[in-house]
Symmetry: C2
């Protein structure tokens, strides 16, 4: 295949990973990033501080041999640790022995990916370069730099990896037959930091994702390599218990005392931090098509999702991996339009599936994990995973630890629920004692775990 | 109340009606319309030629005493007349004796409303004035005229009545917590004209909305005052029977011969007209909120819907009527924000309901109306309307001939279906013979027909 030029809008996580993938394939790659070069200054705020990296993201990083260096600095989390109001702890493993998700620093990972992309002589990175126009017929974008100078750049194909508020997607939206939705939750989030102990050690169990489920709101905490935790409080903007009700330091102190008493002693200057940090919003963005001419959307620009399945970055990295493979397999006679058409055909349904699953998981995390029926459901699910590892896969496992398409993981998960409810209704929950009956139930439900 | 200034973006149907309503209340009204003054030249193409006006729209026109002048030139349609493939006709009345919907000319009505608005000394109409910016904090819009001159105008409140592709709504979309979706059907539409007979008479029954239901596609025709009919063919863009399959005059001729043989002799130069006229698209737009600061969306700009319930204009006119009444009742101490908040609170759910109903009616019109089970359903529904006019109301009647909120009409319609299916399953369809049993069934279902 004749190697030609690709332009990538955005040097965030997905854009910088894609830049290296394309460079490895021999393309001339030019990247335009709205923000300043993060290697030269401080990181822009307003984004989540850490992210969870799992199988799909790791697989994509392996394409440029970056999985090991990234995992070396990540903190493995083997399960959820729930904190009740009175401080009791309950643990739920994410998978079987050895399966874990990994807390990584967003800015640390982004920095690594930019540094790596910059090692390729065929990659040109441009920062402080704002995309102000795209021409879908000419396959070009117009970029404005810090000095207000505008330049138009052409390429053989262009990828818009410029985030949930993508200017290129905004332009696509003006065309007929572009289906689009942006839906904000009535919830906002606020990040708070638990500093490490004086000796640098962690103040909570470091190998867990901590959850304080409180029904209509919740807090979570993920560990950082420096011994700190980043807590995120998810709460309605308005209503009985909500951000609008917390107007004074006293309100905040009372609120934490009532609902999160166990973390109060762990956070220094909690009240000040609370009012200093902004309230982030939670949006789900879906669109179809993702491609116009030879310009394609990728990552958050195509499918922003809420963070509750820990799959936002992993889904974006899987987009990169799929696109990279399709391009690698492109034949001389195949047009770019055909490659991009195949890319969107494969990805759109999967993006919609993980968007749904992420929304569902919010209810699970903030509410269900504290309910006895749900804990029983999870207990049975874990037993099925343990005793029938080849015949049963949990949805969490399929989404987080497998390569199965998100669409099929969604369908299998729904079928799993029917099976588990059947077992509970028919008193077949002592799985080790009733292996034969359970096995025939599994066969009867005939759940699909492969494409 | 101190009368102040209102700016209206858009002098289409809703905008020009609102201008007169506000002028009658004593406001200083300034209207900015992107298009040229339709009184001075030809009408811009690409819009549907006629529209159906029913109760909600008539009520709104009554506010400025324009209902009678408009209805005088309208053509009443008392029911649907279905044309089968072999030319058989089947008639379904829309309501009881005397109930009808009215075919009106879009441009004729718009012209009337603009002319009327212009009779008020406190209305200033500006044409060829494109809104390029809105400031939601300052309650202002910036408008560019034909010569590229930009001017910023302030008002006490501003209404965006500038259509499905509203520039003001596009600006709102950039703010957080603005929920928005645009969804295009995979169907396009094409308009064709049946000229009157040489003596000016109609070639089809003039007092009906004609439908050629063909399952996955359909044609409809509405009468015009000049003796012509405007036919609209609704068909998928792609697929087995679709616009993309009709590439030559021969294709078109074969297609009409196969599916719409009865209209072929009625249309002159059908094939030429087919290729001359554009393919229109069908979009549903929903958003929430409709108000930012003292700028509010109204009509298509807030809720574009598909045309299959004949309610697009009626819903927009109802927005105008509701807003007009709220403003009329505004007290000195009430802020504009509170009035607009009440307006959106009342209208958003209703707009979503009629959007859903319009989508459902497409399936009914193109497919169900040709099926025996549906005809039986409709027959039973008509008998219920006839024998229990005080106890049963059809959904069509509630939407088209009543003031009941669209939301409640939607709910009542769903409950109606359950009742009718119950009557069919229990062989209670000979309603005149089993009045007592049917009446007790109606009581049992206890369907709500009032707010």
């Amino acid at each position: 295949m004749k190697k030609t030029k690709v332009i990538i809008s955005g040097a965030g996580l997905a854009g910088s990973l894609l830049a290296s993938c394309m460079a490895k394939q021999g393309f001339e790659v030019e990247v335009f990033e709205r923000r300043a070069d993060m290697r030269k200054g401080s990181v822009e705020g307003g984004r989540s501080i850490n992210l969870s990296l799992s199988n799909r993201g790791i697989k994509a990083l392996q394409k440029i041999d970056m999985a090991m260096p990234v995992l070396k600095e990540a903190i493995p989390m083997t399960g959820r640790l729930m904190h009740s109001v009175n401080g009791d702890l309950a643990y739920q493993p994410y998978g079987v022995e050895g399966q874990c998700i990994n807390s990584v620093s967003r800015s640390g990972l982004n920095l690594k990916l930019i540094e790596y992309a910059d090692t390729f002589p065929n990659v040109k990175l441009n920062f402080s370069s704002k995309v102000i126009h795209a021409d879908f017929d000419k396959t070009s974008i117009t970029v404005e730099n810090d000095n207000g100078v505008e330049e138009t750049h052409h390429a053989d194909f262009i990828v818009s990896a410029d985030g949930a508020f993508s200017p290129i997607r905004n332009l696509m939206q003006k065309y007929l037959r572009f289906n689009y939705s942006q839906n904000f939750e009535n919830y906002g989030y606020k990040e708070l930091e638990i500093q490490p102990n004086e000796d640098g050690s962690f103040k909570l169990d470091k190998n867990a994702l901590h959850i304080w489920p409180r029904g209509e709101f919740m807090m979570i905490a993920l560990p950082n390599p420096d011994g700190s935790f980043t807590c995120t409080l998810f709460m309605p903007y308005e209503g009985e218990v909500s951000f609008e009700k917390l107007m004074s330091k006293n309100d905040v102190n009372t609120f934490f005392n009532t609902y999160f008493a166990d973390i109060l002693p762990l956070v220094e200057n909690l009240e000040e931090m609370f009012f200093r940090n902004p309230i982030g919003s939670l949006v789900t963005i879906r669109c179809n098509p993702w491609v116009r001419g030879k310009i394609a959307l990728l990552g958050d620009s195509a499918h922003a999702i809420v963070p509750f399945y820990g799959q936002g970055m992993n889904a974006a990295f899987e987009d990169v991996a799929v696109l990279d493979t399709l391009i690698k397999n492109k034949k001389e006679e195949t047009t770019w339009e055909e490659v991009l058409e195949e890319y969107q055909k494969e990805r759109i349904a999967n993006a919609n599936a993980i968007a749904d699953l992420a929304l569902q998981n919010f209810i699970e995390m903030r509410d269900l994990v504290a309910k006895p029926e749900f804990l029983e459901f999870k207990r049975v699910e874990n037993l099925l995973c343990k005793y029938f590892p080849d015949k049963f896969k949990s949805q969490y496992e399929l989404v987080t630890f497998s390569d199965l398409s998100y669409s099929l993981a969604q369908k299998s998960g729904e079928a799993n629920s029917k099976l588990i409810n059947y077992l509970i209704e028919n008193q077949l929950v002592d799985i080790d004692e009733k292996k034969n009956e359970v096995e025939s139930a599994i066969q009867q439900f005939n759940i699909q775990y492969t494409e």
